[in-house]
């Protein structure tokens, strides 16, 4: 069993109701989502020490930060957390270099010479060209990168990120997201990540928690929680499957993406370099199902799979299938009639059919 990374028990007043959260998770990257006003930012501020809970206990990676019962409350500066609030909060009177260096003192006391850390952060987040600029001259995306870099440069034990992509347009989000993924992979830190975008959370987090009116209403792997939310709330459209892979070959308009060494997807995308790691999105209603391997199809992807579960609690049926051998699982949206006609049942073998046009490249993470 892996270590218990997040252990929170918190009560704090919120506008109109009370935040009352009990949460334990061993995920390294824990996502937090829910409607605005649910208390997500408050939760991060409580962990960061910017607010004090009325009562409760906060433990991160085995370190006790707060415990009202034992009168423990580490001061903000001693919590050792890299907090990136939604607005970034860069120091307006300091240039990017000085902003990044603001927390180097702590990094020095923890790591000795922090120069290597500084260089690494600049390299991963590509901040080298911005060092002499002032916050007022940065674009939204640049500001978020600097805010993230400043948090990393302080040598934190964990990251608290509050909607770092909120307020950015779609194109910018797609460009910043890879930096976040790289950060998560390069700096192996526990991360509490607030967002309302299921895709972001599916890409970045091992586990997600849904917060509503100050309470945890769901917790689990992103795909499970989002599928449950989709069912419970009768959301429009279909759940989206988020998969990761590596480009193994590419031609002018089609790339082959290996999900595992044995499972490849054909993706319609231009300009993907072999070796690049990508995040793919596949809507659950764009996947066809066959009980025998179909032939003579225009669709490029026919993937062997096995039924894990069927959920018919909504008008449609959500079928959860795992790709064979040892692949990731996918949700497929079917009608009740076709589920019955095909005689689908848990454990049964089937083939998933996908056009390469139905596979969207959500993010390119680099080589």
């Amino acid at each position: 069993m892996s270590a218990r990374r997040f252990a929170l028990r918190l009560r704090a007043p919120l506008a109109g109701f009370e935040l009352d959260v009990t949460l334990e998770s061993s995920a390294r990257h824990l996502g937090l989502f829910g409607p605005s006003g649910a208390g997500k930012t408050t939760l991060l501020e409580l962990v960061a020490g910017w607010r004090t809970p009325r009562e409760g206990r906060i433990e991160l990676d085995g370190e006790l930060l707060f415990d009202s019962a034992r009168g423990v409350s580490l001061p903000v500066r001693a919590r050792g957390l890299g907090y990136v609030p939604q607005e970034g909060l860069l120091f307006p009177h300091l240039d990017v270099c000085a902003n990044l260096a603001a927390g180097l003192g702590r990094a020095r006391s923890r790591l000795g010479d922090p120069r290597a850390l500084f260089e690494r952060v600049c390299a991963v987040l590509e901040l080298g060209a911005l060092l002499e600029r002032f916050p007022a001259t940065l674009s939204g995306g640049e500001r978020q990168r600097v805010a993230l870099g400043r948090a990393l440069c302080s040598g934190p034990d964990a990251l608290l990120l509050d909607e770092p992509l909120a307020g950015l347009d779609l194109a910018l989000r797609r460009r910043i997201l890879p930096y976040l993924v790289r950060t998560a992979e390069e700096f192996v830190l526990p991360m509490l990540y607030v967002s309302h975008d299921p895709r972001e959370l599916a890409i970045l987090c091992d586990e997600v928690v849904r917060l509503e009116r100050g309470r945890v209403t769901a917790q689990g792997p992103p795909a499970d929680v989002f599928a449950a939310v989709w069912r419970a709330e009768a959301l429009e459209g279909a759940p989206e499957n988020v998969l990761r892979g590596t480009v193994s070959a590419s031609s002018a308009d089609v790339a082959q993406v290996a999900l595992t060494p044995a499972i490849e997807l054909s993706v319609s995308a231009a300009g993907l370099a072999p070796g690049a790691r990508v995040v793919l999105g596949i809507a659950a209603d764009e996947i066809l199902v066959a009980t025998a391997r179909p032939v003579g199809l225009s669709a490029r992807n026919v993937l062997a799979a096995r039924v894990l579960a069927l959920d018919g609690s909504r008008p449609g049926v959500v079928l959860r299938a795992v790709l064979e051998p040892d692949g990731p699982s996918l949700d497929v949206l079917l009608t009740r009639a076709s589920t019955e006609a095909l005689g689908l049942a848990p454990g049964g073998a089937l083939f998933l059919v996908l056009k390469s046009n139905s596979v969207r490249v959500l993010s390119v993470l680099g080589g």
Binding site: A48, G49, W50, P75, V76, R77, A78, R79, G80, L81, G82, Y83, P85, L89, F91, P92, H93, A102, G103, G105, R106, R150, A151, S154
Partner: protein, 224 residues
């Protein structure tokens, strides 16, 4: 002769105003910060006390100082065992000006500190900075313009101080006679040309300092 007099008056005025600004700088910044950033019992009493010199007649303040430093007063030479050298000296004029100028400087400093987003200070703490480092590296530089304006306003107010100064320090040419006092003397003596010349000087000083203060405050505002 009149030219030399004017230079004397100008010298005393600037020395007194500069000394008064130096004297009130630390208390004004400390009080401004305290009122902007801390909640404590008796805060509104302190607020009122600090504002008091703004509404009390300056002559009343001068009289209080006179009683305080009188030979047998609580801070007089008999009580202290030495002469503090306040009454009828430039030191006294400086002290009186500082006291009268304090409320303006504190108010402006308080507004300057309040203009600094406290979340930026908390961010400093989250990055591991000590309370002192947060103050010197974040709060102080961000409030800089407003604080400068506070000191300049204090200086300007001291330039024109009359009531408290005349009572504590008298009106001694070459020693405690500042612009405001010299104008009064010239009018008393019927020297309208001398008075006008000094008034002209006052207008120039006042205009320059208020102009700079306004610019400082405007830029401080556009930044936050």
């Amino acid at each position: 002769m009149a030219g030399a007099d004017t230079m004397d008056v100008l010298g005393v005025t600037l020395r007194v105003a500069a000394g008064s600004t130096a004297l009130l700088a630390l208390p004004a910044l400390a009080l401004g910060w305290l009122l902007a950033r801390r909640e404590f019992a008796g805060k509104s009493v302190l607020e009122t006390l600090v504002a008091l010199p703004l509404v009390l007649p300056p002559t009343a303040i001068g009289y209080l100082l006179l009683e305080l430093f009188a030979r047998r007063g609580p801070l007089g030479s008999e009580r202290l065992g030495f002469d503090p050298g306040v009454l009828f000296t430039a030191r006294g004029a400086t002290l009186a000006s500082a006291l009268v100028s304090l409320p303006l400087a504190v108010r402006t400093a308080r507004v300057a500190f309040e203009g600094v987003d406290p979340r930026l200070e908390r961010m400093g703490q989250s990055l591991g900075l000590s309370t002192r480092a947060v103050f010197t590296r974040i709060t102080l530089p961000l409030a800089r313009r407003g604080l400068l304006a506070a000191l300049l306003l204090g200086f300007s107010r001291a330039l024109g101080e009359f009531g408290a100064t005349v009572i504590v320090a008298g009106n001694i040419p070459g020693r405690t006679q500042t612009l405001a006092l010299a104008i009064f003397s010239d009018i008393q003596l019927g020297d309208t040309r001398g008075a006008l010349r000094l008034v002209g000087l006052c207008v120039v000083f006042a205009f320059a300092s208020v102009f700079v203060v306004e610019r400082l405050l405007r830029r401080a505002e556009s930044r936050s």
